[in-house]
Symmetry: C2
Subunit: 350 residues, 2 copies
């Protein structure tokens, strides 16, 4: 197969780990006789420095023409004092909205060789394997008005959703549950928010179409507790944008392997953007010690979800597991009697 992939290295360690993704893609090309046409574009602080905007039109255009997008990471202290419109994060929000990537899929799974690094007790976290499905282009992140009023005396942000926006993400939640363990936890704040009451109604309506999926409603505060007390009690979690931001980041530290976690942001036609969950880690950028596994597993997710290459994705995932089992790791992880490697070395090993 021939596929067009846009690469957005971004900031900080994004550049280094994108090199790892390229090597993995090259290995898949030769092993499985595919052809990947790679195009590198700018986003975030890198785009600000080079073009004065966090999301150049060319980048958005190239992504729209591609079969999939790989993103490194975005942001860093260098741009922290920019006005809101000229901050790296605006590039991220802009590309999500611009490409209509309404569903953010965040798998969280324990890696047995890394369990000891979890802040949770092993018996609590050990069987955790969940997928958080976060709405990504609506809610408080994009609602209008979002402004100061009365000479700065008052300020409002708006949490806005249409039925259509809620329906499509809820469907994504149910579909994800169907191909996993058929349990869906819908998270809202229906005892306070009208938008959550609509959300809950839609979940109950849709449930009829997925009779094989068991549905549970959980308030966001209770969900924040259950993630810690009983993380293995979740299969698929579906929730709105801001709740999803908080809960998926909370979930990402449970297993002790944040540097390993991939994520996907997709729309209905299959186009998706794939990126590691960790940030741009400016403190270690350029040192060649960053953990590329989150990026490499994001590449696997891309092959699986956007490019229809299940077998190839599995091959990458097993290669990663093999390396961990052999004790290979980067500086952010510790494996007992293991071998610490640089970004390049572990990429080669994988």
């Amino acid at each position: 197969m021939e596929k067009k992939i846009v690469l957005l290295p971004g900031d900080g360690i994004g550049k280094e780990i994108m090199e790892s993704a390229k090597k993995v893609l090259a290995a898949i090309e030769s092993e499985y006789h595919h052809r990947f046409i790679l195009q590198e574009c700018a986003i975030g602080g890198d785009a600000l420095d080079r073009y004065g905007v966090p999301l150049p039109d060319d980048t958005l255009h190239a992504c729209n023409e591609a079969d999939a997008v790989l993103l490194g990471s975005v942001g860093g202290p260098k741009w922290d004092n920019q006005p809101p419109k000229f901050r790296p994060e605006k590039g991220l929000l802009g590309i999500r909205k611009g490409l209509g990537l309404f569903a953010n899929l965040r798998p969280v799974k324990t890696f047995p060789p890394l369990l000891h690094a979890s802040p949770l007790k092993e018996e609590i976290v050990k069987d955790s394997d969940m997928m958080i499905v976060r709405e990504l282009t609506g809610g408080l992140y994009f609602g209008e008005p979002s402004e100061r009023r009365n000479n700065g005396e008052d300020v409002v942000d708006t949490l806005a959703y249409s039925r259509h926006e809620i329906e499509r993400i809820v469907e994504k939640g149910f579909e994800s549950a169907q191909i996993r363990n058929k349990h869906l936890t819908s998270v809202d704040k229906a005892n306070v928010l009208e938008s959550s009451r609509v959300w809950r109604e839609i979940v109950n309506e849709k449930a009829v179409d997925y009779p094989d999926v068991e549905v549970e409603h959980l308030l966001v505060d209770a969900a924040a507790m259950k993630l810690i007390t009983n993380p293995s009690g979740f299969d698929v979690v579906v929730t709105e944008n801001l709740f999803g931001d908080i809960l998926s980041d909370e979930a990402s530290v449970l297993t002790g392997s944040l540097g390993m976690l991939p994520s996907a942001s997709v729309r209905t036609d299959g186009l998706g953007m794939y990126e590691p969950v960790h940030g741009s880690a400016p403190d270690i950028a350029g040192k060649g010690i960053a953990n590329p596994i989150g990026m490499i597993l994001s590449t696997a997710l891309m092959l699986e979800y956007s490019l229809g290459m299940q077998e190839e994705a599995k091959a990458i995932e097993s290669a990663v597991m093999d390396c961990l089992e052999q004790g290979y790791h980067t500086a952010d992880l510790k494996i007992k009697d293991g071998k610490q490697m640089s970004t390049d070395e572990i990429t080669e090993a994988i």
Copy 2:
């Protein structure tokens, strides 16, 4: 001293644990020669059943005349299908707003005899001792419009704050830090929300007035992570209503002693409402096995914050610690070689 206290037992185990609070107050009365004039009023599901509204005017009036308010807990499955206006939670939101209790103080501290019950590894959680200061009468909980539009095709909620509302809670945060370990973490989502950018500006402005307090800004998603990976890295956390709801509940399960945690909701003149953090636990209501310690420590907090009785508060806290150290506990806790007690028994022991 003579003080007027309104008691709001509420629903579920609320009634039983309020009896424990009364016994503790009686002990303080005779030991320290005070007089507490107690008035019991209805709230929540109990008020719905008896008066058809979750917050009768008489209750609000009595609270406004009192020196302090003790609340058991509110809510239960019996009222879960009521329309929003007739749900027990409306009573809670109504009394917060009606009394102007804008600051919710949630201390989270490890109890050494209960550390083993924490879902976190002991070395991670052991020195945790934080105070979450949550804004309680603004933000998404009360902003207008909060409504469906276009025949139910769209829905909005509004996150609204005035400078004044932000200033007074931020001041409360700084003041709390001053009497603790002089470190304040302000939590917002300033990379996305305009309200958070105003929040951050106000924190930076106010910081000048509290030069002895070190200030750190943290995004809400990063805060949700740090609570798990480094809970002892917090002293005082100040944040808006919804973030505070999520983070304080997340924090409440870290130490393994949710049933022990008190909370205070206060305004500037000293009037406050005090309640345990745990819910109404309808599954064990009426069985006489509920843990009254959260309620008893809430009573201590009331003596300290609203009634100016520091010594009396300390006496209650030491009594609780003594009992735990002797291994006395209720059914929700396990202490090795301890003695399990009923609500009444442990109250007597304390």
